[in-house]
């Protein structure tokens, strides 16, 4: 098992418990679609899983470590080494070119970089390969400024950055909600295929139920979250 949440409780500062999840698991390489309406706490849950937010109680086991018991520094390290994140928008650093944006996680995590070296490649080469695979070979070659890319292209670069160095989990927070249908489906397919190829688990979060049909496993945050039930 890759991720195992048990009895996790989370509250924003000075608020009552907002998320209460008794059990939530993801296996290595598993692809999960987590749906929930806006404001239901999807981003909050992802923050907990990424080790950026800290739970009030419970454990968040990621691989061998419990993020809830790790120091913030360790959480940052684990995230850099083993996770990839794709946001809804504004995923890229405007002052870096495409290749530097994609290879950024490898620069922040020596282990992640080493995985590529061990596989006989480098962060730059792998960034080029991913961008080629995602249809951005020309943009990478021409060093197109990030701000000149379309939103769909930017999301693909973000996916490449999340995927580089074969992390164990990719967290995608509504990465397709700014894309139109055709591009959305294509993006989803590329992301899922590359995750499958690298045996990377994918936690895909969206309020858009149409996407659910692409996934074998679909969970609902509203059902998972026992805090709401208590309130209601």
């Amino acid at each position: 098992m890759l991720l195992n949440l048990t009895d996790v409780e989370f509250a924003w500062p000075k608020r009552e418990v907002f998320l209460k999840i008794d059990a939530f698991q993801i296996n290595e390489g598993e692809q999960v679609f987590l749906r929930g309406p806006s404001g239901s706490g999807k981003s909050t849950l992802l923050g907990l899983i990424a080790g950026v937010l800290r739970p009030k109680a419970g454990s968040i086991a990621f691989g061998e470590v419990d993020l809830a018991k790790s120091s913030p520094r360790q959480c940052d390290k684990i995230r850099a080494r083993d996770m990839g994140v794709v946001f809804q928008l504004f995923n890229l650093l405007p002052f870096l070119d495409l290749i530097s944006n994609v290879s950024l996680p490898c620069r922040l995590s020596p282990e992640r970089n080493k995985r590529l070296i061990d596989a006989g490649t480098t962060a730059e080469e792998e960034a080029h390969r991913l961008l080629r695979y995602l249809g951005l070979a020309r943009e990478a070659e021409e060093k197109t400024p990030v701000s000149n890319l379309s939103v769909g292209q930017q999301q693909r670069v973000a996916a490449a950055r999340a995927l580089i160095g074969a992390p164990r989990l990719i967290i995608a927070d509504e990465p397709t909600s700014a894309l139109d249908t055709a591009i959305r489906d294509e993006f989803l397919k590329l992301l899922r295929d590359e995750c499958a190829a690298a045996n990377t688990a994918l936690l895909f979060v969206s309020h858009d139920d149409h996407l659910a049909s692409h996934f074998e496993r679909v969970d609902s945050l509203v059902e998972l979250n026992k805090a709401r039930l208590q309130v209601a």
Partner: protein, 423 residues
Amino acid sequence: MRLPTLPSLALASLWNRRISALLTILAVAVSVFLYLGVGKLKSAAETSFNQTIHGTDLIVGARTSPVSLVLFSVFHIGNPSAAITWESFQWLEEREDVDWAVPIALGDSHKGYRVIGTTGDFFDRYQFRGGQEVSFASGVAFDDLYDVVLGAKVAADLGYEIGSEITLSHGLGEVSFMEHDNRPFTVTGILASTGTPVDKSVLVSLQAIEAIHVGWQSGAPSPIARMVTADDVRKMDLTPDALAAVLVGLSERRTLLRTQNSINTYREEALVAAIPSQAISEVWELVGIAGNALLIVSAFVIVVGLVSILTSILSSLRERRREMAVLRAVGAGPGHIMGLLISEAIFLAAIGAAIGITLVYLASFIAGPIFENRFGIQITVSAPGATDAYVFLTVCGLAGILALFPAIGAMRSSLADGLSIKL
């Protein structure tokens, strides 16, 4: 060239905002340049001011404050309220403990330059800047009653050469009431530049000072004044009756205080003996206030430069909040976010300060000779010293401390934002 990740990210981010970064660096550079430049000028001015006169142990005048005595006798500013008699001068000169005495008489001006009456000893005894002696750029000292020696600036400004014939006027104005046009003086010597008030003096013999005044004793020309010829004057008794001051050199410096005391308590006439270095530093305390004020003002300009760093960071923060979230997502910690902002501030400050310091040295190298020629202020071009290091470190340190505020703010919001990007 693979810099460690975070510094290289900070640099890339700065490069992305290079125009505003450049302006910020400029503000810091100019403020540091101003501060160090003013400080350098001030200490150079103080040094050359203190070195206006050298080798003279005492300056003696009629009872007045040492400051005003130095002002009129050395700097030729103002007039003595009372004069010393010739008898007192002779008494001074004959004292055992006095090695030499050079009388100074003041009074008239030539086209705005002070006319000083003295003896030929002046050129041997007057020293400045650590013992440099007055030297003649051309010609020789005055010998005849109607000979005149010019300071370097007088000669240069008025275009006089050896042999030029000039008239000396009565009174201090540039254009005098009535010129002594029937009394031509001849330039016999022009002094080399000294950077002291000597450059701006017209030097004649004591007798010449008297001669200029023949027939003018009442303050306005009596009918005789226009009738006496230059040769008539030669036959008169021209022993000066009023000296402004006497420069005194002692036989032995260790008697300084005793001699000073003895002159101060002279019974025949109320005299005051001032120690030049003391009196001059008293004068500097008055004059130097302007320099201190300027230094304080330029210190505030440094504060403005630092605030401009803060402004540039604060104004970039809103748009960079997303960048922070991205950095967090790829594994940067809150400490990294803080470090990013603080190192950016220190980097801007360091580049700015370094440019400022370089400019000061460049400027003193280029403008130094100009200052020395025009104002007699000697600016030494020395290797960057403790002051520069101190200013550099202070500016960088303050920038880092100021940047703590936006940095802590950014760290807090990046912690609170979690993984979501706030638009």
